[in-house]
């Protein structure tokens, strides 16, 4: 029994949002297993995993930015339109001026930054609610897309397609796998072990008891197992395929933004503003600057997502980005963010996004029509948030706690440790 308590305390304890996150990881695993059985093993084939990552990487990239926007207490409805607008601007300029594709990417990011500055200005410095500013932006940039593109589809050059449809090259000896992907996987395993040991070290420096060794080992084993599995899957696809470039971009962004939101002053300020704006202001947080940067960052990421989609579609079209904002917002809320701001994590949002992605993918593999898929996704969103609301009203924060309650007399002491940062941020991007 004490081992179960230890496990609960160290793996599932901590704050509400952590519990919710682990709930979602549970759901994710359940969905994967369900579809794995249902589709006779198609879900976890290399080809499918690669397809899922390249299909949903842009939504997950949006979810990163959206999480920060929502944590700061705002919302961004314009991301789809901004993505489409950036896509058409980049495609058009590359076509008209025969620019090399890296220049195209830089132009795209610059366009995103400009749009972000525009929206950030209205939100932060004029004080127009973000809902309104981005609703306006949604119309503005959708119209801009059609104005510039004449509602036409504009193709992009071959090199540019790499960021959306490219893979790691095949190098080195023939091992039956993509060697670069294998190396990445190896590095990830090493990083996981290092992070776990480092966090134990940190706990000791705080004069706090680190989690029991067996838990650390279990955690490492699970993580390494997942990474090895994913690595082999991604490395073992058809020759010429591997972990998609868009997936690598996504993982890099997830790691960078997780670090930023979790460990830096800037990240703390976003949570402070969303948690209590007035208190944050009276603690010396520059409210306007935080709001401005959060909105601006969102548009830059939307621009990136738009370019990845265009690259994958090999052309920019008038329907790009339609209702992306809803997918991104749903991912963030399924991932445990609070509607009122101040709560939520990048890794949670990624897990939330993956839940949606795998649900979509599994249902499509089963040949379920897009009408039913939308109905199911809608219900999942509602239930995920309702579950959380219910849990809060019951004062029950732990899923494991509620599962094991019937077997226990004594109520568990409130868990005090947060799970190691390594445990979720690293797992999320490769779990799919």
């Amino acid at each position: 029994m004490s081992r179960i308590k230890d496990l609960q305390k160290n793996l599932f304890g901590g704050t509400t949002s952590n519990a919710r996150q682990f709930g979602m990881i549970f759901t994710l695993v359940a969905i994967v297993l369900l579809f794995q059985i249902w589709t006779n093993g198609l879900t976890l084939t290399s080809g499918n995993l690669i397809a899922v990552v390249s299909q949903y990487s842009y939504i997950l990239i949006l979810a990163i930015g959206m999480l920060m926007v929502i944590v700061a207490g705002h919302i961004d409805l314009s991301v789809g339109s901004v993505a489409a607008f950036t896509g058409i601007v980049v495609a058009k300029t590359m076509q008209e001026f025969a620019l090399p594709w890296p220049v195209g990417i830089l132009i795209g990011l610059a366009v995103g930054a400009l749009i972000g500055a525009w929206q950030g200005f209205w939100v932060a410095y004029v004080g127009v609610p973000a809902f309104i500013v981005t609703l306006a932006g949604m119309l503005l940039f959708r119209g801009g897309n059609q104005y510039i593109g004449n509602a036409d589809t504009v193709p992009v050059p071959e090199g540019f397609r790499t960021i959306g449809a490219g893979f790691l090259p095949e190098v080195g000896p023939d091992t039956g796998y993509n060697n670069l992907t294998l190396l990445l996987g190896l590095a990830a395993c090493a990083a996981v072990v290092w992070r776990e040991l480092k966090s134990r070290q940190t706990r000791r420096e705080m004069n706090a008891d680190p989690a029991p060794m067996w838990i650390s080992v279990l955690r490492m084993a699970v993580m390494v197992g997942v990474i090895v599995f994913a690595t082999l899957r991604f490395a073992g696809g058809r020759v010429g395929t591997s972990l998609p470039i868009s997936g690598i971009i996504l993982i890099a962004l997830v790691l960078a933004y997780s670090h930023y939101t979790r460990n830096t002053i800037g990240g703390r300020h976003i949570y402070a503003v969303g948690g209590n704006a007035r208190a944050a202001e009276l603690s010396g947080v520059k409210l306007k600057r935080v709001n401005f940067l959060v909105m601006m960052n969102m548009s830059v990421l939307a621009a990136l997502a738009g370019m990845i989609f265009v690259a994958r579609s090999s052309a920019s079209g008038p329907q790009d980005g339609l209702s992306w904002e809803l997918d991104a917002i749903a991912a963030v809320f399924i991932g445990g963010a609070a509607v009122s701001g101040g709560l939520g994590t990048i890794s949670g949002s990624i897990v939330g996004g993956l839940v949606m992605a795998l649900l979509n993918n599994g249902l499509q593999l089963e040949g379920v029509g897009s009408d039913m898929v939308q109905i199911i996704k809608g219900l999942v969103l509602l239930l995920a948030v309702a579950f959380d609301v219910y849990n809060k009203s019951q004062g029950r924060f732990s899923i494991i706690g509620s599962l094991t309650r019937p077997f226990r007399r004594d109520d568990p002491s409130p868990p005090t440790d947060r799970p190691s940062p390594a445990s979720d941020s690293d797992k999320a991007p490769v779990a799919g």
Binding site: T39, L42, T45, S46, G47, N48, A51, S54, Q55, Q146, N150, A151, D152, T153, P155, R161, G164, A165, G176, Y177, C189, V193, M213, W214, S216, V217, L218, M220, A221, V222, V224, G225, V228, F229, L232, R233, A235, G236, G237, R238, V239, G240, S313, S314, A315, G317, P318, Q319, D320, L322, S323, N361, Q364, L365, G367, G369, S370, D371, V373, Q374
Partner: protein, 373 residues
């Protein structure tokens, strides 16, 4: 501590080994991709092979009908089928994901009615590399070497027929030139929309230049006439504005070139709403409501592109691919998708007005009753 470390190392190792043994590389046993997207595969495939059909969202009766016909037809022919529609609001991304899923499931032939003809390059390539044959259904997929066949009605011909019907209808009502008309065209992201429009203008342009036919608003550019997404409300809004801007007085509108039935009905709704006489309006697709409208004397014409025939021909094509024989092709040089000329099979369209409706729909169980008196 040491004991722990050795134990933990062992545990991690075991975990790694387990997963290693659980999943090998899929590279062994996968056929090398056929080079450069050469047309037909050398030999056929199993008689119950999976056939994927990816269609646009259910915005027109035709696509719904086609989907049903494919599901039943492929089943009768002994194939396993997977028929998918794109979602209403997320069309392109949905279709991309659906095609990927079909590839994953190992579809032998994938029939695609594209939502956006230029944005499927990656998925079509993926399909090709997995050894599937790609047939572009009704809409040509552009910017890719990986599409194998194109099957459709002759769309330029459709446009020509529409143009001619418009002239005939106006002449019947008012024998003397000039006639005042307005032009509508389909969604700019649909490759066919331009083809229809050009076909119609092939007939109308000489008369416009001569002055016999006048475009009341002066909007003759395809960018002005296009209706995004083939949406009825778009056509209705444009017609409303045209009436306000150009036909507000007693200026008479004689005819409207409409590329399909959905838009035609929207245009008629708008004209009726403004209290004007209904002009001659063309259409296409033989939708139930439009056939009723034609019989009631409102819409002038439609085009009978018998979806049954098109689907039947497509399934015939799939069957010959299964048997390993070359499918029938009747056009090898018209349809250039920007990368290659796609071998095509074109079916002839038929113009339908009130006069020949009964005859044209005689074999259609749904439409035939509508034409009886």
């Amino acid at each position: 501590m040491r004991k722990y470390l050795t134990r933990s190392a062992a545990l991690i190792g075991v975990a790694a080994l387990l997963t290693l043994s659980a999943c090998g590389s899929e590279r062994e046993g996968t056929a090398a991709p056929t080079a450069g997207g050469s047309a037909a595969p050398a030999k056929g495939f199993a008689a119950d092979g999976l056939i994927g059909v990816a269609l646009p969202s259910k915005t027109s009766e035709n696509w719904v009908l086609a989907g049903d016909l494919f599901t039943n037809g492929l089943k009768e022919a002994g194939f396993t089928s997977d028929v998918q529609y794109a979602g209403a609001s997320t069309t392109v991304a949905d279709q991309q994901a659906q095609i990927s899923a079909m590839v994953t499931k190992g579809a032998k032939v994938i029939v695609i009615g594209a939502t956006d003809a230029a944005q499927l390059t990656t998925q079509v390539k993926q399909a090709k590399e997995a050894g599937a044959v790609v047939i572009a259904y009704d809409r040509l997929i552009t910017n890719t070497p990986d599409v194998d066949y194109y099957i459709a009605f002759d769309n330029f011909k459709v446009g020509q027929l529409q143009g001619q019907a418009l002239l005939d209808g106006m002449k019947a009502k008012k024998p003397e030139a000039p006639w005042t008309i307005e032009l509508f065209s389909g969604s700019p992201d649909d490759n066919n929309a331009g083809v229809f429009f050009n076909g119609a203008m092939d007939v109308l342009k000489p008369l416009i230049d001569k002055g016999d036919v006048v475009v009341g608003s002066g909007q003759t550019d395809v960018k002005q006439t296009a209706i995004q997404g083939w949406k009825a409300e778009g056509a209705q809004q444009r017609m409303d504005s045209l009436i306000t801007s150009t036909y507000n007085g007693d200026k008479k509108l004689d005819g409207v070139l409409s590329p399909n039935d959905t838009l035609a009905r929207a245009i008629i709704t708008s004209v009726k709403g403004a209290g004007k006489d209904i002009p001659v309006v063309t259409g296409q697709d033989s939708e139930v409501e439009s056939v009723k409208s034609i019989m009631a004397g409102e819409q002038y014409s439609t085009i009978n592109k018998d979806t049954r025939k098109l689907v039947a021909e497509t399934i015939a094509m799939v069957k010959s691919l299964q048997a390993g024989t070359e499918p029938t092709i009747n056009d090898k040089d018209t349809y250039d998708n920007g990368v290659k000329v796609v071998p095509s099979y074109l079916l002839p369209p038929v113009i339908v007005t009130k006069d020949n409706a009964a005859e044209s729909y005689a074999n259609d169980p749904k439409l035939a009753p509508l034409t009886q008196g």
